[in-house]
């Protein structure tokens, strides 16, 4: 039996009165890449941000249902949101390194977790950058500002920064949407390598990207989860007509 990392039961999300997610139920397998696809405003990003409770930051959001991560409902009152976010990292659409040095960007997470030892930090910085496949490019300029890096490098740095707090799950919100094709394929290859150690959930507008990178694909439309299944079967033989229409570009 495959290992289920996240189990979602009847999760609904409201912006004030407006229902943005409608009773989503799904299972996300461990150590796999799950892609969330769908047209703009379908709720895929909103759903992604539910998984590390990033929607908490938006006023007037209310959530019903369960989001079980390793069997624990992260919306339970006893759960500390800070711990959730340490366990569930996030990479954003726009690469957002801190205006600090490359080293400090990676060390930020470990530092707030109370790691002060310099050798330990050095080690974390190196392993994280290696995992993000960017160590060789940056090892000689760790003290340079992260803002001087190219967009693709910044995004991989941000992935490395996320890895530095050693999460189990990595959420990616259109991580390559602002990048050129070469950087995009580097990120995609990185995702492929990372899934051995992490459970990855990626939101993408780019269906081909979902096809290339993911093992599971979930199609969202108007706040509903229309279909979820193996990426191969979604892209060769989707069950729902809406899914077929969307992935073949015959939408609307």
């Amino acid at each position: 039996m495959k290992d289920i990392k996240i189990k979602v039961n009847d999760l609904s999300l409201y912006y004030g009165e407006k229902k943005a997610l409608n009773e989503i139920t799904m299972e996300i397998p461990a150590n796999k890449v799950t892609a969330l696809i769908g047209p703009s405003g379908c709720g895929k990003s909103t759903f992604l941000r539910c998984i590390n409770r990033m929607n908490d930051l938006i006023p007037n959001v209310s959530i019903k249902g369960e989001m079980l991560v390793e069997g624990i409902d992260i919306y339970n009152k006893n759960v500390d949101v800070v711990n959730i976010r340490k366990k569930i990292g996030m990479v954003f659409q726009k690469s957002n390194p801190f205006p600090k040095s490359i080293y400090e960007n990676i060390a930020y997470g470990p530092r707030i977790n109370g790691i002060k030892d310099k050798t330990q930090l050095d080690e974390i910085v190196e392993t994280s950058l290696r995992q993000a496949a960017i160590w060789d490019e940056l090892k000689d300029r760790l003290d340079d500002s992260a803002l001087g890096l190219s967009g693709g490098q910044q995004q991989r740095l941000c992935i490395g920064r996320t890895l530095a707090v050693s999460p189990d799950i990595i959420l990616m919100d259109e991580p390559a949407s602002a990048l050129d094709p070469i950087s995009t394929s580097k990120i995609e290859e990185l995702i492929h390598q990372l899934k051995e150690q992490y459970t990855i959930i990626i939101v993408t507008h780019n269906m081909q990207q979902a096809a290339r990178t993911s093992d599971q694909t979930a199609f969202f439309y108007m706040g509903n989860l229309i279909e979820m299944g193996k990426t191969n079967s979604i892209f060769t033989n989707p069950v729902q007509k809406q899914t077929e229409d969307y992935i073949t570009g015959r939408f609307g």
């Binding site: 496949a133 394929s185 290859e189 492929h192 081909q208 096809a211 290339r212 990426t231 191969n232 892209f235 060769t236």
Partner: protein, 226 residues
């Protein structure tokens, strides 16, 4: 850094090599059965290989479908996948024909005499050669090979047509020979078909390497002029 897509392509290439080798041995096995007295064990081997080829053919189709759907191959990758699907199709046909040759061979009485009489052995040698060359062409992509394949195919066709003519003449005079003769004609036609499938495969390999579709063209147009 080899991407996981490249790894997948390598895997596909490996499977095609394997199915090609299977087909090659299938042809030579069936030719052996044709030329000598058939043994039951050998026919079993043929059938086993046949089912292996069929399975690999399906597997190649599945891999190609998933690559098309998920990886959006372009340029040389696209040509490789397109060719892979066609090549596996042709190979599967070669496998079928080999099996059919073995079946038809059972119906030929006094087979040894007939084969010697019409020098079928010459044709089968050439058919074995053309399958080996085709396999080689896929592996090495050496462009001179395609010319040899086309020349061989033409020779096989001419020789087989001549032989068939002789067999028909024999059947006209000797009515006892009709059943065996008809079956032998079918076998010869099968061998001819195998060599045609080999030229098709060569065409797909050529397309894969040179991005030029040469179906239906004359051989002379493709071959470098001397």
């Amino acid at each position: 850094m080899t991407s996981h897509f490249e790894i997948e392509l390598e895997k596909l290439k490996g499977i095609i090599e394997k199915i090609g080798q299977l087909a090659e041995s299938q042809v030579s096995e069936s030719v052996k059965i044709l030329l000598q007295e058939p043994g039951v064990a050998e026919e079993k081997i043929i059938k086993k290989t046949e089912s292996k080829i069929d399975k690999l053919d399906v597997k190649i189709d599945e891999i190609c479908q998933s690559i098309f759907a998920l990886q959006q191959p372009v340029a040389s990758d696209l040509r490789f996948i397109m060719s892979a699907m066609q090549i596996s199709n042709e190979i599967e046909r070669i496998g079928d024909l080999s099996l059919s040759i073995v079946k038809k061979a059972k119906n030929i009485k006094e087979k040894h005499d007939l084969i010697v009489k019409f020098s079928v052995g010459d044709i089968t040698k050439q058919v074995e050669l053309i399958t080996a060359k085709t396999n080689n062409y896929f592996l090495t992509r050496q462009e001179s090979t395609i010319g040899e394949i086309f020349v061989l195919s033409k020779e096989i066709k001419n020789k087989s047509e001549g032989t068939i003519h002789e067999i028909i003449n024999e059947m006209k005079t000797n009515s006892k020979a009709v059943v065996s003769g008809t079956n032998l004609i079918i076998v010869l036609k099968h061998l001819e078909r195998i060599s045609e499938h080999c030229t098709n495969i060569a065409e797909y390999v050529y397309f894969m390497v040179n991005a030029k579709i040469i179906k239906h063209d004359k051989i002379d147009d493709i071959l470098p002029r001397e």
